[in-house]
């Protein structure tokens, strides 16, 4: 009886989700997410500390406008996983909140699955999910299974679909021992797994994941990461993911969108990001036995030395020349040239400032 309750939206009945994923609502070929010139300006009341200042602010409030997102635009194709990168305060969360419908933008256009998110139409909300690693939706005092039931009713998931999805989530996330415990008794990692499951019971076609692995240990991070990839493969879901853990991004995202101070800094393949923004290469030299003490600082910046293994950082343009000199002048057992780790590149992008990074990319 309840299970057959049709959805409120015209044509949005509880279709089996495998089919729903294969037949998106917007015209074929349309991107799942379209963002154009999106801006969000927060108005912040400025007030100095102290009694007098408080009194003064009662009479005349000083308002400051803080642009959190300052005219960004990008597209995400259906089924794509895109990493959304930027330092704290870059505007990532603000953007995700606008895309999921929590925030009204100050200006600009967004279309997700053909919907304007902040209208928060039910047929839109039923197709998306927002997971925030530092927020929770599960009811603290009761087992997760009960919260899942509540979501089933709210999203009007047919019982058979619900069972199937739940079984799948239990298997992929290894939840069977957790479901009947009150949520407050779960560890952070266990709770996060349940949060992720709760957010996916309605089989959303677009996932906004804001730091889904924050605060988790490495094993749990890997587990969640693997799960997100698996969910994307099985259901063709579109995923926009922010994370401070580059391992997440490297494992999941072929493409990244980088923002800094609310502006778009880069949109493209992860490998291209490294090439464009890293002005350096890393050369690892293994020295012959007996030559362990040789000083290589004249060849480049020595980053690490350990038991006959020296890591050098050299300007990208000089790589070939330095390699040649090394091979000619030093007793080398082995030599590898590599891009620096992605963390380093990202750090460089953000700390170097936009101008420096762009110049490095151009060179």
């Amino acid at each position: 009886m309840i299970a057959t309750a049709p959805g409120a939206a015209a044509g949005e009945g509880p279709v089996p989700l495998a089919a729903a994923a294969a037949t998106p609502a917007p015209p074929p070929g349309a991107p799942a997410i379209r963002v154009d010139d999106l801006r969000k300006v927060y108005t912040v009341h400025e007030r100095q500390a102290g009694m007098l200042a408080s009194m003064r602010s009662l009479v005349r409030r000083r308002v400051k406008e803080v642009p959190a997102v300052d005219g960004i635009g990008f597209r995400v194709e259906p089924g794509e996983i895109v990493g959304f990168l930027g330092p704290n305060g870059a505007g990532k969360t603000t953007t995700l909140k606008m895309l999921s419908g929590l925030l009204y933008p100050t200006a600009g256009e967004v279309e997700v699955l053909g919907h304007v998110p902040w209208r928060r139409r039910r047929e839109y909300l039923r197709q998306i999910t927002l997971v925030m690693g530092n927020r929770n939706q599960l009811v603290w005092d009761i087992p997760a299974a009960d919260s899942f039931e509540l979501n089933r009713a709210i999203y009007r998931i047919p019982v058979a679909d619900f069972r199937e999805t739940l079984d799948e989530l239990v298997e992929l996330l290894d939840l069977s021992a957790l479901l009947q415990k009150p949520v407050r008794q779960l560890s952070l990692g266990e709770r996060m797994k349940c949060e992720v499951a709760a957010a996916l019971l309605h089989r959303p076609r677009v996932l906004f994941l804001d730091e889904p692995t924050i605060g988790l240990d490495v094993t749990m991070q890997r587990r969640i990461r693997h799960f997100i990839g698996e969910y994307n493969r099985r259901h063709g879901a579109t995923v926009l993911l922010t994370s401070h853990y580059m391992a997440d991004v490297e494992a999941l995202c072929r493409r990244v969108v980088v923002i800094h101070h609310g502006r778009l800094l880069f949109d493209g393949a992860l490998t291209e990001l490294v090439q464009r923004f890293s002005p350096h290469k890393t050369i690892v030299v293994e020295l012959d036995e007996g030559a362990a003490g040789v000083d290589l600082s004249s060849y480049g910046e020595v980053v690490a030395v350990e038991e006959g293994r020296v890591t050098l950082r050299v300007p990208k343009a000089a790589t070939a020349q330095v390699t040649g000199r090394l091979l000619a002048g030093v007793p080398v057992a082995d030599l590898t040239v590599a891009d620096p780790p992605i963390e380093e590149v990202i750090e460089q992008v953000f700390s170097g400032g936009t101008a420096g990074a762009a110049a490095g990319g151009a060179g």
Partner: protein, 277 residues
């Protein structure tokens, strides 16, 4: 699909959501049995105190005050206790916390308006507390012998009157709770509301015993329709015409509050959005 079938499906879906919410609320409330009991004791005690005070006043003034004798007061305050139990709402004490802690955001992303969850929680709480309150009530009736002989039509009209009173009181409390979107100092506002309820809804004293100007004030404000109206109805103080007029007033106030709730909700969401959700 016919519009009727669509509506039927819509209602069935809503009902399922309510049932699920009831279950969650029961699970949560059972974790807080102690506070449940404390609240019950408070509810009963409050009524008993008013009852005893006014009965004493009546006895010391020659058996009657303003048409109420001891049994009359017993009837008034016991029925008031029941009506108050069925209609009271506490959402304004929680909403500001919800906004401040960011707990509203997940609710906003659900394809169901958050007010449904609040109503379901309220009703669940009432259902749970009634299990203890009903025996308490029987005990109080035995102790205080209220004079209560409503005619059948009054008893019949009492139910919709309480239901409308609940809707009205819930909507006003919910709208007030939305102040949490604008300020973190909702306590003062809540206190003011609580005081107005206490004096102008008939909770502390029958409205007919209030001084003239206060009665006039009570007549033009919505509070009396949240408690006093169903109480007076069951006590047989209203004619059928007055009862019908009362239903009209309740419906009108509900319409006003529903409109206010919708407007304030929309403005509140804008505000919530402006500061970052």
């Amino acid at each position: 699909m016919s519009p009727l079938a669509t509506l039927g499906g819509e209602l069935a879906g809503l009902w399922a959501a309510y049932v699920a919410r009831f279950k969650v609320a029961i699970g949560v409330q059972f974790q807080y049995r102690a506070s449940l009991v404390i609240w019950l004791v408070w509810t009963v005690m409050e009524s008993v105190v008013y009852l005893v005070v006014w009965s004493t006043v009546a006895q010391s003034s020659g058996g009657q005050v303003g048409g109420y004798d001891a049994a009359g007061f017993a009837a008034y305050f016991l029925v008031t206790m029941v009506v108050n139990q069925l209609t009271f709402t506490w959402i304004m004490h929680e909403f500001e916390y919800r906004v401040r802690q960011g707990q509203l955001s997940p609710l906003l992303l659900k394809p169901l308006h958050p007010i449904h969850g609040d109503i379901a929680e309220n009703v669940t709480y009432k259902a749970l507390t009634s299990v203890v309150l009903v025996p308490a009530l029987v005990l109080l009736c035995w102790a205080f012998r209220p004079a209560l002989q409503p005619q059948p039509w009054m008893a019949a009209a009492f139910l919709p009157a309480v239901l409308l009173a609940f809707l009205l009181r819930f909507l006003s409390g919910w709208t007030l709770a939305l102040a949490g979107f604008w300020t973190t100092r909702v306590l003062a506002i809540n206190q003011l509301y609580y005081m107005a309820m206490l004096f102008l809804s008939g909770q502390m004293v029958p409205l007919s015993l209030l001084p003239g100007p206060v009665q006039a004030l009570a007549a033009v404000l919505p509070f009396r329709w949240m408690v006093a109206f169903p109480v007076e109805l069951l006590l047989g103080q209203l004619t059928p015409e007055e009862t019908l007029a009362g239903f009209g007033a309740q419906l009108a106030w509900i319409a006003v509050h529903a409109a206010a709730a919708a407007v304030v909700w929309r403005a509140g969401l804008r505000r919530y959005s402006a500061v970052g959700a």
